[in-house]
Symmetry: C2
Subunit: 518 residues, 2 copies
């Protein structure tokens, strides 16, 4: 330890003695000595009464609209939410026994058994632990949270074009990848070809790191690892290691494109959270606070600014109605907004039409028995396949009970979603059963009562979410007269409920500031 760090240490000790832990913490953060978690400051603080009775018309009772109504009402604004659907929540849709799924050309009725765990989140299903604004509301609204297992090494990777189509456990693929990479790099280091990159001392340490990282043997070769699980034994007798998989087959597969790295991706790594009993528990929490402000089945057709405010025209049970507000918060999803008459700027319209949008498609099944737990030791997590269904998701709760709900397809790819979206609901389920069978051989016998949702065909959503539209946000979030766009679609977390909440906060803060000035 050098002079400098000694005196720094003495300083910190003195500070701790004088000022206690918090003073020490502040100083250490300043000095860069501590991890600096980004604490969440809470929703915008709008003093009670500061709303001065201003009238706010909020379009959409999705998460963004509900948050806005909740916070603004507390501050004395008069809020009305116009919601096109007969329910609140928008993209946050959880289905249970008897619920309906509307697409442009079909209506499905969910036939699941009833029960606390018998739900399927057709929209959002998980969030990472640093989505503090959302988590803050869960706490405030009494929504109980539990762990969602988003990456389970016991689940499978499957690619028809590698390993003869045999599914491999994720842990086998990741262990072998680490092994191959580590062995190859250890060899290269020994050949002294990386001497520019690594000092002599670091070379040796790096080889030791690789040995630990890849579970190499004493001569730095990868000869299989028990991290893949045993080939046999290990319970009532000695465990026998699995042989390494074939590297060329691994390279042939699509496993490494992103699937085996899933748990590493920002926002997708463990641990993630979910509300107990379904994602819409959050919506239900807000409804307890603001449902009296919501007009359902109110389909907005026109948003026109006036000199002093804004006029919104909507249809309620085929009747045209008009409402005036001092401000309007518009959370209509971008694909739907394109079809609404507004007086927004040409710049806004150009940006709106430039936003790329994703078509997600999800399928859910009731399982007669929890075969993934019983047969495969899988408790939560995701299996991946190169087939259209892309994923099978297992529930992270209700363990050891008889039945459960699995996600039988979760399709990200726009073209595949469109293709499968063209099938009838019945055809989709038949296809998902057949494809699931390649991962779980008893699948089609075990699942029943499927539901599906092609989000691009769902009225008032017409898609799932934006992608790579961050550069357009500064334009889209500019107020159009007295109208403010809000919602996940114009947030930097556009794939997440947290984005809807933060965008809502950002919007009400700006309206509030304007009201205080006026």
């Amino acid at each position: 330890m050098n002079q400098n760090s000694m005196s720094r240490r003495n300083f910190l000790i003195a500070l701790a003695e004088a000022g206690g832990a918090s003073a020490l913490y502040g100083a250490m953060v300043t000095m860069g000595l501590m991890a600096t978690p980004t604490a969440y400051a809470g929703p915008p603080e709008l003093p009670a009464g500061s709303g001065k009775g201003k009238k706010i018309v909020i379009i959409g009772a999705g998460l963004a609209g509900l948050v806005a109504a909740y916070e603004l009402s507390k501050a004395g604004y008069h809020c009305t939410i116009l919601e096109a659907r007969g329910r609140c929540g928008g993209r946050s849709k959880t289905v249970r026994a008897g619920d309906k799924i509307h697409e442009s050309d079909s209506v499905q009725i969910c036939k699941f058994d009833s029960g606390k765990e018998m739900y399927c989140n057709l929209g959002p299903a998980r969030f990472p632990t640093d989505h503090s604004a959302l988590i803050g509301y869960c706490q405030e609204l009494g929504v109980e949270l539990q762990i969602l297992n988003n990456h389970n090494p016991f689940a499978y990777l499957h690619d028809d074009s590698a390993f003869a189509g045999k599914p491999l456990q994720i842990r086998e693929v990741s262990t072998n990848s680490r092994g191959f990479i580590s062995e190859l790099l250890a060899k290269a280091i020994s050949k002294n070809v990386l001497d520019k990159e690594l000092s002599k001392d670091d070379k040796e340490k790096m080889r030791m790191l690789l040995k630990a990282y890849g579970d190499l043997n004493d001569v730095f070769l990868y000869k299989g690892s028990d991290r893949s699980g045993y080939a046999k034994g290990g319970r009532v007798n000695l465990g026998i290691k699995k042989a390494p998989i074939d590297l060329s087959e691994l390279l042939k597969s699509d496993f490494w494109h992103y699937k085996m790295n899933w748990g590493e991706i920002l926002g997708q790594g463990p641990m993630m959270l979910q509300p107990v009993g379904g994602m819409d528990m959050i919506i239900k929490g807000f409804e307890k606070k603001v449902s009296h402000l919501v007009t359902k089945n109110a389909v907005v057709k026109k948003i026109i600014n006036t000199t002093k405010g804004v006029t919104v025209v909507y249809h309620e049970k085929k009747e045209e109605k008009t409402i005036h507000g001092d401000f309007c918060i518009n959370t209509i999803p971008i694909p739907v907004l394109k079809g609404i008459e507004t007086d927004f700027s040409a710049e806004f319209n150009r940006a709106m039409h430039a936003v790329p949008y994703l078509n997600y498609l999800k399928i859910g099944f009731q399982a007669k028995r929890r075969f993934w737990e019983k047969d495969c030791h899988i408790y939560g997590g995701i299996s991946w396949t190169n087939q259209d269904i892309t994923q099978i998701w297992y529930p992270s709760s209700g363990f050891n009970s008889q039945k459960g709900i699995v996600v039988g397809a979760y399709i990200f790819d726009n073209a595949i979603s469109e293709k499968i979206g063209k099938l009838t609901p019945t055809q989709r389920l038949a296809l998902a059963k057949k494809q699931g069978q390649k991962i779980h051989p008893t699948y089609s016998d075990d699942v029943e009562h499927g539901v599906s949702c092609a989000w691009h065909k769902v009225p008032y959503s017409l898609g799932a979410m934006t992608i790579e539209a961050e550069h357009l946000i500064p334009i889209l979030e500019k107020p159009q007269g007295h109208t403010y766009m809000a919602g996940a679609d114009i947030s930097y977390l556009g794939h997440w409920q947290e984005g809807a909440v933060l965008s809502s906060h950002h919007t009400i803060e700006r309206i509030h500031q304007r009201v205080q000035k006026e």
Copy 2:
């Protein structure tokens, strides 16, 4: 697809049509085309009445003893469990408000608040999802399970001798490691020094794999990755990547010895499970079935075989008593058994004395506020440090509530356990607070009411578990006359409750076979 695989495929399709999914499954497993999960066949099937009223003396009401009594009773054996302590469960000890912790020279009383989540598992705390025998009992006994987060990338790694003692998030360390390793190997491959190991085609694919694996840029360099989390932004504005950490510092640290690989280790990878409300819920489940068979405070002193059975001498409230059985199942942990008078073979005694044993030490604290969730977005998981406390474990349930229990030290190393075990309970807590402070700067203000347990000082345990004793099991499990050793200590899963269960099954199966023959 070649001829061969086409005809194989046709065969499988025909089979599926003829025999349904299960026939297909059987065939595919046989042909090596399917993943083959090792299904658990359940506990030994002992027909009702097959016990013929034989008397079994079981020593120890830990998990192994309880399982034996439960299964044997069902089959018509007459079981008596002699348990030295005033409670069942042995090493499965969960403490709550008012519970006592006995060590050879101290008694602690747990001062936690009461509440469903206000418990600390001083012994077992987690199990992997393939511990099917244990999970089977949880199902049978109605013990509700939930996910235990055992590896949380948001938790910290801390080493006084690297990064100026600043804790790093695990995800930062693992992302950077992947980045460094991938960049170095991509460079080596480009230098054509691994041409013997990789075909031309595989070389190119391997570079692409490394790009995805390490999140390298377009010229295959690692320049930081958002997988580490952002340095700033990413919520209401664009996220800015963190710079890469210093490779030499990483190599200096002890992170890579095993801590950053923790989630990869067999049996420790995600996902793991825990019973809702504390590990001893499993014990309580068994107690509902067999507590009437348990004599508590019965300290066995002598086990002597007779020609037809076995005689066990024990002390109950200072009174010497004797009990005879047709068989004895002895689950006394090895360090305790060394002090018991028996007539076991010299071979057994030699093996018993050769078994290496571990001294684990755990400390638990009540936290006044869940600072790890609020300040650091940590929901479950483990932070690691090179200090004596080794770990801080965060609870995987009770999220968003006010208080909670953290494990403030979990020490694996025998020498450190012994050193800390020599401190008084009060001294241990002071030390753990001070060390925890280096990871969480408000730690010592936030935690209170600590408890500790140095297992090697706990009567009737005298240690935590065996290590690398597998080669001795064949000797130790040989019957000594009518006495059979059972329990985790003589199982191939010696660190796990599953081992205790399986060893118990193995033992009752052998006794049962002998009874059927006699």
